[in-house]
Each structure stands twice: as C-alpha cells, then as structure tokens.
C-alpha cells in the first residue's frame, strides 16, 4: 500500500467534490510573529485548502511591491528560517491534513544548509517547496534531495515555457504544477481567462499533476472564472495587501480571513453552473 501525501489526498477529495482548491499565500512573520501565527491557524477554517507560506527574503526579485513589503515587515520583526519552520510545526500539531507549501528564494535555504533544512522541514510537516530561482537546470541543488525527504518540489510553468522546454520543466515536478498566469512579478495585472484556459489545457496534455494558477488573481469573481478550468487558484498579494492596509493586528486578521471566506465561497460554487464542462 502506498502512502499518499497530504497534497494527493487534498486534490483527490476536491476532485470528488468537483471544485478547485483555494490556495492562499502569506509571508511567514508578516506583520509580526504572533499575528502571522494567528493568521495561519485560522486559514483552514476560513476556507483555504492549501497553504503557501512565504519564507521572507531581503531581495525578492520575482515579487511585486506588496510581497516585497511583506518580506521586509517580517524580517524587520525578526523572522528567520528557523522561526518559519517552527510556525509550521505548531500548525501541524493542530492540523494534520491541510497541506503546507513553503515558497521563497534559494539563498536562505542554502545558508541554512540544504540537508538540515529538508530534515527540519520534513519533521515540521512541510509538504512541498516552491523555490522561484531554482530552474530544472539546478535540480541537484534542492529538487532531488527534497524528493528523498518526501517533500514535493512544485515547479513553475510560465507563458514563456514553450513546447521545447516544457518536458524539462515537468521532468522532476511533483505535488502540483504552478502555472504563472502572466510574465511578470507577483501582484501584477491579471490575464484574460480565454488565454489562460488555453494554456492550462495545453499543460494538461503533458502532465497528470493538478494545475494551480496564480499571479494577479485578486477577487472572488476572478477566482471563480479561473477555478472553472484549473485545479487550484492561488491568491497572494491581495491577502498581503489586507495586512498592509490594516491598522491593528486584529483588523489584519479580520480582513485576511474575510477575503479568504469570500474566495472560498466563490470557488466552491464556481462549477455548479457548468457541470458538463469537465470531469
């Protein structure tokens, strides 16, 4: 009997329900350690299916202003790699089913030590990694060792990933495929749904893995549109903006969980009118 990962179980259950997953992104330690912990622990109840937790980095080259500022808030309040892993461990003690994917850049992992990081991450209950600046050419750095620790390495496919390159991108991918909806940084403008649907369908011809779509999805309406043809929708900058715009930690939590609830309701209903569409 093969052991199924939390991500596999999650996507299998959602397939039964015929709805996409709602994936949230927040930066660990934003705006401070305590508020960030409270934000994290409330996500599943508010309707998040999969949690992406950002590991803050001083030089986030692929992120727009919202997530850049989130990283700085977290780092200025003393967030470290060790504290991020500790957040996951405490979350896992309370919630044994919601998958957690750590997202960020390679340098903080490299400096922590790859083996030590993977050992600690597996122990804490991390399910997957998204590392923006590790293309398949550098799989031996982290992707291959992660597999040995039972941690999925989630690959990004983008509008510039052509047919020639796609097999390379998919080769060692696991968990799910993250389709970056636009060439650009996080928090930018959203693409047209028609073009996105075409791109996702094209991806499906080459992989059995679930396909998540992210970058530029801010509203419940967008989430519903994209959720009709993708297996998961990722919302990040819009949630992070809620933190920036709040005056108090309590207000930040209320705003973030409020937006999550709206998004959750929307993705749960998005395929009801178009049953014949898929599956």
């Amino acid at each position: 009997m093969t052991h199924k990962s939390r991500l596999e179980n999650c996507f299998a259950a959602l397939k039964q329900q015929n709805r996409p997953a709602l994936v949230s992104y927040l930066t660990a330690g934003d705006p401070d350690a305590d508020t960030s912990r409270r934000l994290l622990h409330g996500l599943p109840k508010a309707g998040v299916d999969i949690i992406e937790l950002g590991m803050p980095f001083s030089d986030p080259m692929a992120d727009g202003p919202a997530i850049q500022k989130a990283a700085l808030r977290a780092l200025n309040n003393g967030q470290t790699q060790a504290k991020t892993l500790e957040m996951v461990r405490r979350f896992r003690a309370e919630d044994s089913t919601t998958p957690i994917v750590l997202m960020g850049y390679y340098n903080p992992i490299f400096c922590y030590g790859v083996e030590r990081f993977l050992t600690d991450a597996a122990k804490a209950g991390v399910d997957g990694l998204i590392v923006v600046d590790l293309p398949p050419e550098h799989d031996e750095e982290l992707c291959t060792p992660a597999a040995q620790h039972g941690i999925d390495f989630i690959r990004l496919a983008t509008p510039t990933t052509d047919a020639k390159r796609l097999p390379k991108v998919l080769a060692n991918a696991s968990g799910f495929i993250y389709y970056v909806s636009v060439a650009g940084v996080t928090g930018g403008s959203a693409p047209t749904p028609e073009r996105l649907e075409g791109a996702v369908n094209q991806l499906r011809e080459h992989t059995e893995l679930p396909i998540a779509v992210g970058f530029g999805i801010r509203t419940a309406e967008q989430a519903a549109t994209i959720g009709r043809f993708s297996d998961a929708v990722v919302v990040g900058s819009a949630l992070v903006d809620c933190i920036e715009n709040a005056n108090t930690p309590d207000e930040a939590i209320e705003r973030v969980h409020g937006l999550v609830s709206e998004l959750a309701e929307s993705v749960r209903a998005c395929r009801e009118v178009s049953e014949e569409h898929q599956f």
């Binding site: 001083s58 727009g64 390679y106 340098n107 922590y112 050419e137 983008t158």
Partner: protein, 409 residues
C-alpha cells in the same frame, strides 16, 4: 590592436559554473530567454561579421585602443615599482563600461530586441548603456538607487540628455543591488521585447562570461602594449573590484601566465572589521543572489546585508562568480582599501599625474600606494585606470571640501 575576444577559456562549463560558482538561478519565466541569449552569444563569438562590427565600434566610436601610459611621476612619488596606467578613462563616456555595452547592444540588435534596460550604481554603466541605446536608436530605461541618484547627479543628467528614462529605486537602501532587483523585475515582465544589459561580470550565465569576454579587450591590449614597450609581460596587475568587470577584463588574458601577479582591490569602506564595507571576498560568504552563486555580504540566515563604500560603483554586496572561483583557486590575490585610503590615493593621482580618477579606481591606486614602494624599479605594475572622476566631484567635495575651502559644490 583590436584583438578578438578570448576563445581559449574553458570556464565556465556548459551550466555556467566556475567550480561551484556561477550558474543560472533565475525565475522560470527568464530561462527560455537566457538559453536563447547563450545560443546567440555562442554564434556571435565565431561570427566574423559580428566581430568586425564590434572591432569597428570599439575603434572609431569608443576610441580604442586605450593607451598604456608610464606614470613617471607616480612611480617617482612611490619610489618603487614602475607604474603603468591602462587609460580606460579615456574611452568614450569615461570608463571601461562601454566596452561591454557596445558588445551587448550589437547582440540585442541581432536578437531583434526593441528595448534596452540596465541597472547602474555610480552611473557609469547607465551612461554607457544610454549612449549605445541612443547610437542604435533603442528606447532605454535605467534603474538607479535613489541614494545613488543623490550622490551621482551629473551622471543622472547625462543619462537623461542621452534620452534614457532614469527610474529611481527606493526599495532596500536604494543602491546598486536594489537597482538590479528592479531591473530583473522589469525584465521578467517585458521578457518578449527587452534586452537587459548587465554591467558587470555577474548575473545568470552567460552574462559573467559574456561581459568578461567583451572587457578582455583591456587585457589583450595591455599585453601587446607592454610587449611593445618593454619586450616582456608585466609583473603585476592591479584593479578595483565591485562586481569585477574591469578587473577581469584586465586579468583574464593573463590567467595562464603564472608569473603575472594579479591583485583585485575590494572596497573596504570604514574597514572590513567595522562591518561597513563592500568587500564580498574578504568579508562575505558563499550564497545565491541575482542569478549566480558567489560570495555575498549576508547574515547567517541568508539575508543580504547592505554594502558600504564611498564609491557608488563598488557599493554592491556581491562579486562576479569567476572572481569567487579565482579567489578559491588562489590565482588572484584579493585585498581591500578603505574609503580614507581611496580618498588619499585619489588626491595623489590628481596631483602627481594630472589625472582625476574615479573613486572606484582610487581603490586600486590605494593598493599601489601600499605595494609599489616595496618593489624594485624593474617591477612592471599595471593599474587599470578604469574611469575618470568628474562624476565624483560632489562626493569628494563633501569629504575634502574643508581642506580646499570649498563648502558646497
């Protein structure tokens, strides 16, 4: 005198690695373009027409070859080694930066790109990029840290005159690394039509090798010029290092001449022990930033620490990956010079030779001041006079104004 680019070098390997340094640590969105750039560059290296154009622009537009000048007064002043200055400051736009920009803009044209972007610290690379963009009729956007804009006003004005849009970067400390982050964000957003002219021997492969090759004209000329003047190779080469392009340009053609000693001078700021410096090799550790693995100024959690230097062009918390490799191989000796030592050497060069060097270059001269007096006159020491100092008048006036009775310039 316009030698072809160095084709003999075996590094980096196919993955862009110099030992464990270098590589292509970039977002997937950029990978197809970076692979295409690598292919195009490989073709250009052996394309006679590309080489002919490069030689033409290096000669008639840049003004190469730059002289190798025997600095007689400086030699007497220090009373030791014979000092030769490789006069890169006489190039069009006043620094070595244009050697690389000409090469990259020709490549951009060949690839059919419609828009040029670049990062700049002191503004010399920004000016050189704006210059070639103007010459080739391409729109140009320069990212420059807000702090640097403040201290390099003349160059900001020059870029604007040349038709470039200068975008102030306020994230981080508003210096070179933040400008590079912002340029990378622009590139990933406009990947279809935009060519990113990186100004130093850093970034994802093939940039470190490509920029080195375009700058190696400095070393090739130096070699021929010294052979012509003295009938032998120099004994030592000295150059300042921020990212390290002027140093690698001078050093690279001599790497296999083991009798030629090479000294790279990092910016020591207030002193490497003070923590306020830009000396990545002398005060940093290996890490991954801006597309490559190299030595970085960072804390133990892998967060990048801001560099400090009186010179905006050296104010970068990393260094080109090939330097990291040469450092570990022990082929090049890497030292540092403080802000004060650089300022002192800056004045000596002005007063002894009538040449106002860039503050960056003054770091190399500071090492000459330490080393030359201990060596005999037969020792031939070449210093890369990588840039002129007109752009630094405000900074220098700020630091030395009292002495000359100048409060404000």
């Amino acid at each position: 005198m316009n030698k072809p680019m160095d084709l003999s070098s075996s590094l980096p390997d196919a993955n862009g690695l110099f030992g464990s340094f270098g590589g292509r640590f970039v977002a997937e969105t950029l990978m197809p373009l970076i692979l295409e750039l690598q292919d195009e560059y490989t073709i250009a290296k052996s394309d006679p027409e590309f080489q002919r154009q490069l030689a033409y622009f290096q000669g008639d537009y840049v003004g190469r070859p730059s002289p190798l000048y025997f600095a007689e007064r400086l030699t007497e002043h220090f009373g030791g080694a014979s000092i030769y200055l490789k006069r890169e400051e006489l190039n069009h736009t006043g620094a070595h930066k244009i050697n690389n920009c000409i090469g990259q803009v020709l490549l951009a044209k060949q690839m059919g790109k419609k828009r040029i972007i670049a990062e700049t610290g002191a503004g010399m690379h920004g000016v050189a990029t704006a210059t070639v963009a103007a010459r080739f009729g391409l729109p140009c956007v320069i990212y420059m840290g807000a702090t640097d804009i403040e201290r390099q006003q003349p160059n900001v004005f020059r870029m604007k005159l040349l038709g470039a849009e200068v975008i102030p970067v306020t994230s981080g400390t508003g210096t070179l690394k933040d400008a590079m982050n912002e340029a990378l964000r622009d590139w990933v957003t406009n990947v279809d039509d935009t060519f990113y002219i990186i100004g130093t021997v850093a970034g994802p492969h093939p940039y470190p090798a490509m920029v080195r090759d375009f700058q190696a004209v400095i070393g090739h000329e130096t070699r021929a010029q010294m052979l012509e003047k003295k009938g032998r190779l120099p004994d030592s080469l000295v150059a300042c290092i921020g990212g390290g392009s002027n140093a690698l340009g001078l050093f690279h053609p001599f790497l296999n001449d083991l009798d030629v000693k090479m000294i790279g001078v990092e910016a020591g700021g207030k002193g490497v022990k003070s923590g306020l410096h830009a000396a990545s090799l002398n005060g940093g550790t290996p890490g991954v930033l801006h597309g490559n693995r190299t030595y970085l100024l960072q804390n133990e959690d892998g967060q990048i620490i801001d560099a400090h230097s009186i010179s905006a062009g050296l104010d970068y918390p990393g260094i080109g990956p090939e330097h990291a490799w040469l450092h570990e191989q022990g082929r090049v000796e890497y030292v540092s010079a403080t802000d004060d030592e650089a300022l002192e050497a800056f004045q000596v060069c002005c007063q002894q030779e009538g040449i106002i060097p860039a503050l960056e270059t003054a770091h190399a001269l500071a090492e000459v001041a330490k080393r030359a007096p201990t060596l005999p006159r037969e020792h031939l020491m070449v210093v890369n006079l990588s840039g002129r100092g007109d752009k630094d008048m405000m900074s220098v006036a700020h630091h030395l104004g009292e002495k000359f009775g100048v409060k404000q310039l």
